[in-house]
Amino acid sequence: MKTVFNSFFGGLVALLFILSFAACTADNELASSGDTGVGGSLARFTIIGDYLYAIDHTNLKVFDLENPAAPRLVGEQEVGQIVETIFPLNDLLFIGSAQSSYIYRVTDNGIPEYVSEYDHSLIVSCDPIVATEKYAYVTLRSGGDCRVGFTLNELHILDVEDINNPRLIATYPMQHPLGLGIDGDLLFLCDDAAGLKVFNVADPASIELLYHFTDMVAYDVITLDGQLIVVGPDDLYQFDYRDRNNIRILSQIPIKA
């Protein structure tokens, strides 16, 4: 009787153990399924909630990721010509194209609706855009995909507090600005062969250059709450920016042969 009880009890313990393990696994899967990564500012893919937004040269496509392993195309709309980049902020999409910076709002069914745009069609150029709830930062550059006769290399800061009416506040000349990243009032700007620039943008009408790392070629950045990832064609750089008075390089790894 005792043996029977013991084996029953042992079995119960084993069952509970297996069940708790299974529950734990399920929890992990649940936790990770909503877990989205972060891309650079030159990205043409971004994820908000259960949807993947993908732009090609003219169109914005929406993929439903409710079953992450089986994305479904659920929407497609034309945005503009030479669409370059897409940046997510809450339920907003900031889309950079050669002529305009567009703002879309994602609706409940995942389909984005046009809100407004900042038209810079007089200056046709490549223009990645990043934003906070108050301001958007756009780099305009000459050459490459968006090459036209007129060349211009600038940072434009827009007031987007009223997203229906984005308004240009200030422009700043750059060498050949590419990707950029914003974290609070720190703006990280990749200025190609001119290196990485770090600005205090607390006053957008008068930004302050805090650091200029000149001995590097910078194409794009990712800001990660104090950790900065920067890439150029030859090297991967990482910085610690937790203390803005002491932004320092953590590593430089050659990535080219």
Binding site: E29, S32, S33, G34, D35, T36, G37, V38, G39, G40, L42, A43, R44, F45, T46, I47, L52, A54, D56, H57, K61, F63, L65, P68, A69, A70, P71, R72, L73, G143, G144, D145, R147, Y219, D220, I222, L224, Q227, I229, V231, G232, P233, L236, Q238, D240, L250, S251, I253, I255, K256, A257
Partner: protein, 176 residues
């Protein structure tokens, strides 16, 4: 070094023979020519040892992993647990890819005209779990991006363009 000119000379002679006087109008200029992949299965998904970056693409990070795109060829995967010492782990070869996004354990990547979902829960054994076919136009491969100058026009009958290389071009008809 001298021998490098022999094929060019032979080519010139052939050209002269073939085209007669027209050949004299040909202009040789430095530019880019497409690299074609003639026989690529779109399902080509191969994990290779770490590779150097040749043509930097997009960057993406999730958890301790850093992904660096190789334009038109795939994704370099780094372990970035220690940002002072990132480790190049693998190169995931996917031709025709430019973009990266990750949710949970699924990596989304464009693959020529398709969107592909890849399960990366086991990094040493990534596997395709689904594919949405034909959602992209093949606009990307028709001209070299971030480049100004002459290039050899893409001939789509020769396959899909997976990259561009420096070349001495004969009377190129494409310029950007």
């Amino acid at each position: 070094m001298k021998h490098r000119w022999i094929p060019l000379l032979a080519f010139l002679i052939l050209l002269l023979g073939a085209c007669g006087e027209e050949a004299e109008e040909n202009q040789f200029v430095q530019g880019l020519q497409p690299i074609y992949a003639e026989d690529l299965s779109p399902e080509h998904l191969v994990l290779l040892p770490p590779q150097p970056v040749e043509s930097l693409g997009k960057i993406y990070t999730k958890d301790q992993l850093l992904f660096i795109g190789e334009q038109g060829r795939g994704i370099h995967i780094y372990d970035n647990t220690n940002p002072e010492q990132p480790i190049n782990l693998h190169f995931l070869e996917i031709f025709g890819s430019q973009e990266i996004a990750i949710r949970g354990n699924i990596l989304y990547v464009d693959n020529f005209q398709d969107l592909v979902a890849i399960d990366i829960s086991d990094l040493s054994n990534p596997r395709e779990v689904s594919r949405v076919k034909g959602v992209y136009e093949l606009g990307n491969g028709l001209f070299p991006t971030e480049y100004s100058g002459y290039f050899e026009c893409v001939d789509r009958r020769r396959g899909v363009v997976i990259g561009w290389e420096d070349a001495l071009l004969t009377d190129p008809q494409c310029l950007r």
